[in-house]
């Protein structure tokens, strides 16, 4: 048996890791996995950098930032050979705020409220995301910017732990947040918030978490990596199968996994995709889209070669080997991305143009 330490954060999208561990898919591939729950992405990053973890559940933009060293510390090149989920992030506003909006919870209503508050001299609203380099930060920024709200000037963006979001809403510390399920549905169930928009409404089949290992580890352990990917593929298929839904809900609800109410988890899984439609193949175009968002907001240098970065980190070739071994047939690679950008279809080759043409882009003279 090969011993491995893998890290996860308490979110629905850790499902395939949790299933592979508890349902014996890792063991069936000869892997003795110690699945460790971490409570912050920063610790996950640090443990990956020093080799205290062999693999990690990871925010896609964090994988890009950690590779470049943009997230603090020395650059640690990561590879993402497996996508854990599509859909799952959502934008939730406090019930208080949602009640004050004349047009429900759309960003246009929020934009009017923010403009009104400014004329009244009120302090800017505070909204939380889970990590600076997260799908959530960029999804929330895009949602705000499309309605003309400047995320750096018109609101105050802060970072808070996912499991504490409801408490922060109730306490009035934040007025809204963008986080992956089940923490949006949990806020709704507690009567503290209302889901204003789901990720898939802005970015269809929203790319969210990936499974990552370091580039060095992938090169040194190609066979172990393939065994891991085969186990994850089987676990992901299991997690998506309707007949396993009851058991999946119970697994996720367990206190050592996500630790949330089972009914909330069941509801919050509704639009999440763990496997179907080739969801597990890491699509470089997804990494490119997220990198373009990072560039748009000035979080990556404007001269960075996005296509090269996306193809270095997202590795459909490594995934394809495992998929072929599992006898899986895959749809053709995803390109272009449709329905994401207000500047038309998104292709890797013109990522920089999209970064510059996104509303309120920080790129000057594009």
């Amino acid at each position: 048996m090969t011993r491995l330490r893998l890290g996860f954060i308490a979110l629905n999208d850790a499902a395939s890791l949790i299933v592979a561990d508890t349902k014996g898919f890792f063991a069936a591939e000869g892997l003795d996995v110690d699945l460790v729950r971490e409570v912050s992405w920063a610790t996950m990053r640090d443990k990956m950098s020093v080799g205290a973890l062999d693999g990690a559940h990871m925010l896609s933009p964090a994988a890009l930032a950690i590779t470049l060293g943009a997230s603090g510390g020395e650059p640690t090149p990561l590879v993402a050979p497996f996508a854990l989920n599509l859909n799952g992030p959502a934008i939730t506003l406090s019930s208080r705020l949602a009640g004050a909006l004349d047009t429900g919870t759309s960003a246009e209503g929020l934009a009017r409220l923010i403009a009104w508050r400014r004329t009244e001299g009120a302090s800017p609203l505070t909204l939380a995301v889970v990590f600076p380099f997260s799908t959530h930060n960029y999804l929330l920024r895009d949602w705000l910017a499309r309605a003309g709200v400047d995320p750096d000037r018109d609101v105050r963006l802060t970072v808070a732990p996912p499991a504490r979001m409801t408490e922060l809403l109730v306490g009035g510390v934040v007025e809204g947040f963008c986080v992956t399920e089940p923490w949006d549905s949990a806020a709704e169930a507690a009567g503290a918030g209302l889901i204003a928009a789901r990720g898939g409404q802005l970015w269809p089949r929203t790319p969210d978490k990936v499974f990552t290992v370091t580039e060095a580890w992938a090169e040194a352990n190609p066979q172990v990596l393939q065994a891991l990917l085969r186990a994850l593929l089987k676990a992901a298929a299991w997690a998506d199968a309707p007949e396993n839904r009851d058991e999946l809900v119970a697994l996720l609800a367990a206190p050592q996994h996500v630790g949330a109410d089972a009914d909330v988890i069941r509801r919050s899984l509704a639009d999440m995709i763990f496997h179907s439609g080739g969801a597990n193949r890491p699509e470089p175009i997804h990494a490119g889209w997220l990198a373009a968002q990072m560039m748009r907001w000035g979080h990556l240098p404007a001269d960075l070669d996005i296509a090269a970065l996306a193809r270095r980190i997202y590795r459909p070739d490594l995934f394809g080997e495992a998929a072929t071994a599992a006898g899986l047939s895959l749809p053709p690679p995803l390109e272009p991305l449709k329905g994401y950008s207000t500047a038309g279809e998104f292709r890797l080759a013109d990522a920089r143009r999209h970064a510059a043409q996104g509303p309120l882009s920080r790129i000057v003279g594009a």
Partner: protein, 192 residues
């Protein structure tokens, strides 16, 4: 120098604070949760944070949002000593410092925090082991009593039988005793 220790484990935080108080004339405060407003009032030069604190991402992000940030915070990574940051990660502690603070001063704080974290981890492990030992001893006593009653053995003979079972099966004495008790329970429950 002001040090803020953020640790959800109050006992460990107190241990770190106590250790730091002995090192230098400095002000140490500990909090189970990070509160940005309280932190801004205190104005720490160093924030020591446990890696099992859910507030780590909040503290980690402060250097990203400089406009709203009370103090510029950077994660402590001493490039001249690459092993130190690694040891800190493995010990479960990290430090965030105000830019410009001398590396030597930060290092002494981090070293104290690391040693206290390791001390606490050691104590916790010893406690767990002591608890397990105690539970195992109780199980062995009960299994011994069962053998004495059911087989009419004296205490010494009952113990020797358990030890023989343990050696024959290569399993700990406590596990053998637990199996015996469980088995006896099944026989009682299902049989006569």
């Amino acid at each position: 120098m002001r040090v803020l220790v953020v640790d959800p484990d109050p006992a460990r935080a107190a241990l770190v604070a106590e250790g730091l108080a002995g090192v230098k004339p400095l002000e140490v405060r500990h909090a189970a949760m990070f509160d940005e407003r309280e932190a801004a009032v205190f104005g720490p030069d160093v924030i020591v944070v446990a890696s099992d604190s859910p507030d780590r991402d909040t503290i980690d992000s402060l250097r990203e949002s400089t406009a709203a940030n009370p103090r510029p915070v950077v994660m402590f990574v001493d490039r001249s000593e690459p092993g130190l940051a690694e040891q800190a990660v493995l010990a479960g502690v990290s430090a965030y410092v105000v830019d410009g603070l001398s590396a030597a001063r930060v290092r002494s704080v981090l070293e104290v925090a690391m040693s206290r974290f390791q001390l606490m981890n050691g104590l916790r492990q010893d406690l767990e082991k002591a608890k397990a030992d105690l539970a195992s001893r109780k199980t062995v006593e009960r299994a011994k009593a069962l053998l004495m009653k059911e087989r009419g053995l004296d205490e010494d003979a009952a113990y020797k039988l358990l030890r023989k079972l343990s050696m024959d099966t290569g399993r700990p004495l406590g596990a053998v005793a637990a199996d015996l008790l469980a088995f006896a329970g099944v026989l009682k429950g299902g049989g006569s």
